[in-house]
Symmetry: C2
Subunit: 105 residues, 2 copies
C-alpha cells in the first residue's frame, strides 16, 4: 500500500514542488537571473508579465523553497536559496539551469 | 482517447513540459519504476490512483516526451525515452531520479 502520495509537504522544499515551480518559463527566467546576477529587486526582472502575475510567480518560488525575500526599507530583495536546494537535491538546480540555458541559446 | 497508443510523442520535449510532467508524485513514481525495471504494462505500476487517472498520467508523460507507448496484441507497453531525454537535457533525468530516490527512503 502506498501512503506517501499524501505526504504533507507544507513548509518544506519537496522535489515535486520544486519541479512544479520551475516548470513555468517566467519562473525559470527569474531563477536564471537570480543565479546569474545574485540578489535583485522584484522590479528588476525582464519578464513579460504584469506586476501582480510576477508577484504570484515570486510566491510560488518562495513556497517551493527556491527563493527567499527580504525587505530593506521600501525595497524587497529576492535571493536564490542555493545552499538549501543544493543540500536537499544535489545537482538539481544546476542541471535545470544548464538545460534552460541550452534550451534558449 | 487511446489514439496515442501508436503515436510517437518524442522530440517535442520542452524543459518546462518535462519538469511539469515530473512535478507529480504519481508520475514521478511511474518514471522511477520504468527507469528501474524497463518496459512495463500500464497495469503493472503500484500507484494509488484509478485506472482513468493513471491513463491521464501516462498521457502527460507521453506528451512531454518522457515515455512512449507501443501496442503488442492487447497489451500496451510503456518505455522511458531515456536516450532522447539524455540528449535534449543532459543529466536531467538522472538528477531528478536520484532526488526522488533520496526523497523517499
Amino acid at each position: 500500500m502506498i501512503t506517501e502520495a499524501t505526504k504533507d509537504v507544507t513548509g518544506e522544499a519537496s522535489l515535486e514542488r520544486v519541479l512544479h515551480a520551475l516548470s513555468d518559463p517566467v519562473r525559470l527566467r527569474i531563477v536564471t537571473a537570480l543565479a546569474d546576477k545574485g540578489e535583485r529587486t522584484c522590479g528588476s526582472f525582464d519578464v513579460p508579465v504584469t506586476k501582480s502575475t510576477c508577484t504570484h510567480h515570486f510566491r510560488v518560488l518562495g513556497e517551493a523553497g527556491i527563493i527567499r525575500q527580504r525587505q530593506v526599507g521600501t525595497t524587497r530583495l529576492n535571493e536564490l536559496c542555493r545552499a538549501e536546494l543544493d543540500s536537499s537535491f544535489p545537482g538539481l538546480l544546476d542541471t535545470i539551469l544548464q538545460a534552460a540555458a541550452a534550451d534558449r541559446p
